[in-house]
């Protein structure tokens, strides 16, 4: 920032590091994709090889799309992810606003309590959660998953958003109060648009673990009607025989929707950053 002058070695080193990291990150995805389009022998004989005319085979995809209710699984994953993100953003942002805006007894304590949620993995409470879901009759419903994922996502959301909300000018909120906006209007109409980049960040961080989760769908909603994609693709993994073509094809398909969601949010993220810079 302090220097406009760029040195070639410096830039190339930075790029080298970034390219290296990008390769490491993308490699498993790449491997999944190429192998999903090869026949079974080729997967094991030459896992690194690109599909050639001899080894090219879409049997995995036909199995996945033919067998089971993959459309339903996708739909379930999608509903659970979108609903959870929406609830995490709504409640997380509201809690963050309260913590950053109002002075009340126990404010700091409440903030710390919520922050503890980031440090303690929610899976430790699985047994209790299952008992609770059984008692409320929510087992084998998508609601159960949405509730758990919302609880799982809120601590990080509150943590990130409250930091961002502290940067929103007090004068702006006060101007709203003098103009007769209610606290809700101040929150929704003044503060939320200004922390949109942070909301996009939170959405991305929340979305990926939810989409990829196997644990809670397996425990709380394993029924055919409520299976998510990750759980659905497990039917191809057996104790003795694993249908690798199908597993890889299912995983490749599962990447798509999450990619689309990511693009939506990252566009927001970039727009937020540039609008801030221009102002």
């Amino acid at each position: 920032m302090s220097k406009a002058r760029t040195s070639l070695t410096r830039t190339s080193l930075v790029h080298l590091a970034l390219i290296g990291y990008a390769i490491i990150s993308v490699f498993p995805v790449f491997l999944t994709l190429i192998n999903s389009m090869k026949d079974r022998n080729a997967i094991f004989r030459n896992p690194m090889q690109l599909p050639t005319p001899e080894t090219f085979d879409l049997v995995g995809y036909t199995t996945v799309l033919g067998q089971g209710d993959f459309a339903t699984y996708f739909q379930n994953s999608f509903i659970v992810t979108v609903a959870s993100i929406a609830l995490v953003l709504l409640f997380g942002a509201m809690a963050a606003f309260a913590l950053s805006e109002y002075r009340f007894r126990g404010n700091t304590l409440m903030g710390l309590y919520l922050a503890i949620g980031i440090m303690i993995p929610i899976r430790l409470g699985t047994v209790a959660i299952l008992q609770g879901m059984v008692a409320t009759g929510l087992v084998n419903t998508l609601t159960a998953l949405v509730l758990v994922y919302t609880a799982q996502g809120i601590p990080l959301a509150v943590f990130i958003l409250s930091e961002f909300m502290r940067t929103v000018s007090d004068d702006l909120k006060n101007a709203g109060r003098i103009d007769g906006l209610s606290e809700y209007a101040i929150f929704f109409r003044l503060v939320l648009p200004l922390v949109r980049p942070a909301m996009a960040t939170v959405a991305v961080f929340t979305m990926i673990p939810i989409w990829n989760d196997l644990w809670f769908p397996l425990i709380l909603a394993p029924s055919e009607a409520t299976k998510t994609v990750t759980l659905g693709s497990q039917i191809f993994i057996g104790q003795f025989v694993t249908n690798w073509n199908a597993v890889l094809a299912a995983l490749s398909l599962a990447i798509l929707p999450v990619l689309i969601l990511y693009f939506i949010f990252s566009r927001q993220l970039i727009r937020g950053i540039t609008s801030g810079a221009v102002k």
């Binding site: 004068d171 702006l172 006060n174 101007a175 109060r177 003098i178 103009d179 007769g180 221009v278 102002k279």
Partner: protein
Amino acid sequence: MGSLQLKSVRKSFGNVDVIKGIDLDVKDGEFVIFVGPSGCGKSTLLRIIAGLEDATSGSITINGTEVVTVPPAKRGIAMVFQSYALYPHLTVKDNMGLGLKQAGAPKDEIEKRVAKASGMLSLEKYLARRPAELSGGQRQRVAIGRAIVREPKLFLFDEPLSNLDAALRVNTRLEIARLHRELKATMIYVTHDQVEAMTLADKIVVLDAGVIQQVGSPMELYNRPANLFVAGFIGSPGMNFIDAGRLGASDAKTIGVRPEHITLSRESGDWQAKAVHVEHLGADTIVYLESEKVGAFTVRLFGEHHYQPDDVVFATPAENQLHRFDANGRAIR
């Protein structure tokens, strides 16, 4: 149109008393300026009047109505903030109209009042723009326009010129003075800049450490400061304070004399002194001197004078312009 009474208003944050009992009476149409060093509680006091902070105790009356329990939007006030605080996602027109819209005013009424206010501030050309597309001075005019549109009983200004550069500051200051004449509205204005205070105010309230030090017209404060703090705060360069013992005066502890009330001569005078530093400002020449008799002091001469550092000169204070202060720092009259 609007008057304001404060009765023993106090404010504490935890154990810290920020405002320690303020009584103040602002008459209809007055331009009152709160001035004081940073941390003196002037902004807090303004926010208490606006209803953005609750007073710990005391009563606030606007136009004869007790408003302590009334929310900011219903107090009949409008506020202009230092950071403009414009809504970034609304156009200039919507920024100005939002308050009325929230209050449920009819559309043509809003339209009319926005047109009038933007006419006063020559903002007609910018009505469709967003704040990000305006310069600092224009933004502050929009913020003032937003206040005018509400036709409040009380205008509150919280250091509105601090974010502007020097030239714009003078222009906007003139603009605010003109608005005050045209609108004949009651205005309360917070600043730490004594030039703004002296040039704009009908009445200046000097605050320090959460207590009112003196209330009066600019010239009253200049000519008859009530205590050492006010004497030192008003006027630039600040008043010279001299230990009364050194001048052989027995009725006072400290003698104050303003830099502009001392004359310099190379031949003769009361205090022999040596020039330490000289500032040539064109219209003024400010000479910093060191004397064995009275210590360091400053002299402000009008016009150009060719004194140099290390020149030996004689200073003579104007006898009828001396201020006397007792051991507690209060003026002796």
